[in-house]
Symmetry: none
Subunit: 188 residues, 4 copies
Amino acid sequence: MPKVIDHDEYREELLSQCLELFAREGYGALSMRKIADALDVSTGTLYHYFSSKEDLFHQLVEVITCQDLFDAETALKDAETLDARIDALLRFIEERESSFLNQVFIWMDYYRNITPEAEPGPREALIEYEEGIARLLGTEDPEIARFILVMMNGLVIQRYLDGGRTSLEGQSALIRDFLIQRKAKGSL
Amino acid sequence: MPKVIDHDEYREELLSQCLELFAREGYGALSMRKIADALDVSTGTLYHYFSSKEDLFHQLVEVITCQDLFDAETALKDAETLDARIDALLRFIEERESSFLNQVFIWMDYYRNITPEAEPGPREALIEYEEGIARLLGTEDPEIARFILVMMNGLVIQRYLDGGRTSLEGQSALIRDFLIQRKAKGSL
Amino acid sequence: MPKVIDHDEYREELLSQCLELFAREGYGALSMRKIADALDVSTGTLYHYFSSKEDLFHQLVEVITCQDLFDAETALKDAETLDARIDALLRFIEERESSFLNQVFIWMDYYRNITPEAEPGPREALIEYEEGIARLLGTEDPEIARFILVMMNGLVIQRYLDGGRTSLEGQSALIRDFLIQRKAKGSL
Amino acid sequence: MPKVIDHDEYREELLSQCLELFAREGYGALSMRKIADALDVSTGTLYHYFSSKEDLFHQLVEVITCQDLFDAETALKDAETLDARIDALLRFIEERESSFLNQVFIWMDYYRNITPEAEPGPREALIEYEEGIARLLGTEDPEIARFILVMMNGLVIQRYLDGGRTSLEGQSALIRDFLIQRKAKGSL
DNA sequence: CATGAATGAGGGTTCATTCAT
DNA sequence: AATGAATGAACCCTCATTCAT
């Protein structure tokens, strides 16, 4: 609770503490009072920094979207050969599973609970993800990048739904194998 | 003699009308009053057929799981060659996209909102799906079947999140490619 | 569940089964559905015999009031000397404690929950009780009879509230002693 | 700075206004909305000060128990001779009749409606009452004190049930007579 | 700036009662 | 006569939000 801090800086500090709350409880089940309690501020303070629960959530989505993209970029930029990049990407997925799951939850909440008219929001983030993956794999084919993204989404959801029965390693091995073969055929 | 209504039959009729509601609004955001209004009955009637919102939801999950499994079995049993089966499977997925999306939404809500002690519920259904897919493709490797499931989940969610930008056909083609590849390696 | 039975007779049979329910749960906490379940009939049947929950309760109060008065008369009519009557009366109180408590509960419910304008109801029963006690003790002084009644009420309530700490015997001894003395002084 | 209200003070003010409501309507028949309306606040405010209806009731019982004991002590400590004390005690009872009635109602509701595991609660208060009365009358015999308590309970309930027919003065005279008698026998 | 008291609509649920069968 | 399906008001309680301090 720093006192003489920049307004925006403090707002982002509050936001960052909300991420896990929203991911764990979901938009609907998380009340402003719970948030206030968890952040150790009053509800009034919350409304001083965010005009509504919806606004708070909007800003959160923006922040985590940027944050995660940045993380991905830095985590993957060291790999040099294609094989190394594929490995790095899959390892990244494995390491950040719960983070991805949180993102999927939050994005799903976003579209479900937020004002119906389709705002761009995460959509742009998805495109950036796609482009980032495409760059990494050095492919021109956007379907391949989307394929990876689809697989990432599906994997965390599947593991959430089946309680972890589906193994990360087994699925990673399948996709690695597939990508190596496509590369060999020159269609990557 | 009571009113001439088959209790169980009517209960299932009510249930079937709830599917879309839950899928669209989510467990948390859908109130019993909303359900009652949508089904054109009173809340009292709802509680006459279901002991609680949670019970209603439980039963819904069971019903749609059975229904979908049954549909999948019948839709795919005519295909005879492996290629035909792959095609049939992918076409089935394409045709039932919105249904799958509903299911994923419902299952995710289920685990988020239901009392924490892990009930089997959808988990068993997922295993049945896996086994069904494995049977269809004639593979012994459970990872392959899980991979299909993962891609199904991921695809509908991805398309939900990006507003349909990701094409069903493109991704289907890749999945088909993947399966053909496995078949060539003898692991299918 | 006799089939071809007199309407009124069956109604009273239902009523008699309600006594313990109302005494144990209280008017407010006892629902018509609970009553119906306990009596193994449908709510519709209940409404066939009683026009409302209030009516059911009214009739119940009437029945138990009459019933208990009758019991008291018969239980005490064998005692001949005054001492014997006092003993019989006190023993009667001791034996019927829970029954008295039920009556007090039900009468209190009656006045608290039933239509506000003071209907006679139990009031007449209390007067009859008073007169019965007066007859038994052979006193002309109505205050003495009321004194016994007051003591009966107070005793069951006190024992209800203090969990039985107050002993029936000890209190009975005090009142017996008091009555004997009054008799000796000729003011009984 | 928050609104300039002492939370605990206001809570007790609300509580004190609830006493008559609960006594008149009973726990079961008194709704939080009715309370809110009667106190001229919103239901939300009620829940800001009390975590539940049961909590509110618990706190009420605690408060009235303490309050009445205190009042009794102060009202009776001036009487010096035994006769004066008896008179003071009976006058106190007469003056506080409606207050006693409220207490009896509320305590009975307490045990009827509150979670079954026997909490001490009012039971301790009853013992304190007993001890207080014993001190006042200068008797060692606990049965005498309990007898007074029994008569107090019985009297207020009897007068409630018979609509005031039983006279306070008449019964007080008998109680006084009883006590004088005991004193004459040396057991007081 | 920050607080938390206050609101009232809406959450899940229960209930007395009605009525077609 | 007897059933139980249906109703909708009212139950306890939670919530996002406002605003006096």
